[in-house]
Symmetry: C2
Subunit: 201 residues, 2 copies
DNA sequence: CAATTGGCAGACAGACCTGTCTGTTCATGA
DNA sequence: TCATGAACAGACAGGTCTGTCTGCCAATTG
């Protein structure tokens, strides 16, 4: 699973105004992330990705040994974005921290192109628990659960593991509800859920 | 969307002991449901389904005009199973009714072949909101939400719509958690969630 | 008995899939 | 100036996809 390092995003302020100055591996990953999320992973072929990214096929297979490697890179990219969001939150009490983290769900669901949770959608297409894709998803979920559990513990919750489990389930459910039902209702549902699940302030 | 009527399941007590006595349309749907759920919809081709069902290709296309019709039949079949489960529940107070309905999640997740929510998994593969598949999923979700909301109202909940929304999100999230995380934790999470979300007994 | 019906078997078309390979162009650096 | 490496364009192989079609067989029905 070795491919071109993509952990550093392209800084648009660099004098790479020309789209073609963005390196091919980055262009491929950006295009793939967009298409995979919008249409599903199995539904999008390599030919489509390289065409929209403007990259030759041989170049693609040089940077990503297989399509699955690209999928894993896509999952890890989205995972990085989520962790960066949390890392960038201003310091605040645990309960407000949790509310801010959950609040991201409402923001995401309000997007016109919102199509549910990247990780749940991908997991639906990868039944093999041992597959690299599923392992990347597991790593994401473990981090998310752990982050919430630590915050619960810090807030004085007597059963942080249970509460974190409920918050994870709520997050998953609201992410899917924002896709399949009415996204506009998500924020008030989050508010109501936090009021009932977290120890009173 | 007209195909052979499948609303009546085959009664195994009928003297159709020979597997081949089960009508082809039913054999196809049973096989497709199993494969679609286990491996994903786009990942399973018609050739595979007809081979495992022991049905000729022409016969398949006689009963189901296209693969999507089969997918819709699969979704509707699972929807029927869920509604039948609720309809068969013994009469009991609203709160116990809700607990029994949510309890089905724990039962399902404990199955060794459990692979998450049929409807959420399918929705992940069908981005078009107007597609027949998504419409069948919408109908299912509307019924589920409505069922819970009526029970909440009957239990004297002052805001049944909000509570039902939370219960739907919880259901979705626990169904996914039972797939991706630890299924054994689902029952206690359900219990804890009901204690916190429903008005005290 | 004869005709109809329903299902089986499998070839076929045309598109798309992943992944490999050949050969060309172009920029950079020795 | 020339060599190297990266990316481009695109053919190709081998397989799978959906959906159509032809032909055969067996059971049922008039």
């Amino acid at each position: 699973m070795k491919y071109t390092d993509l952990s550093v995003s392209v800084n648009p302020m660099k004098k790479t105004a020309d789209i073609n100055d963005i390196p091919p591996a980055r262009r491929l990953l950006n295009t793939a992330s967009r298409l995979f999320y919008a249409e599903g992973i199995h539904a999008v072929g390599i030919d489509r990705i390289i065409a929209e990214a403007g990259v030759a096929k041989a170049t693609f297979y040089k940077h990503f040994p297989s399509k699955d490697d690209l999928v894993v890179a896509h999952i890890e990219e989205q995972d990085r974005a989520g962790r960066a969001y949390v890392a960038a939150l201003p310091a605040q009490p645990p309960r407000e921290m949790i509310a801010a983290i959950l609040g991201r769900i409402g923001n995401a669901a309000s997007d016109a192109d919102y199509r549910g949770c990247v990780f749940l959608n991908a997991a639906a297409e990868y039944p093999e628990r041992a597959s690299p894709v599923r392992q990347a998803i597991d790593a994401r979920r473990a981090w998310y659960r752990d982050t919430l559990q630590k915050l619960c513990a810090a807030s004085g919750d007597p059963s942080p593991e249970m509460t974190a489990g409920l918050l994870v389930a709520l997050s998953d459910g609201l992410l899917e509800g924002g896709y399949l039902d009415d996204p506009a209702k998500i924020p008030s549902l989050i508010e109501a859920a936090l009021a009932k699940l977290l120890p009173n302030t």
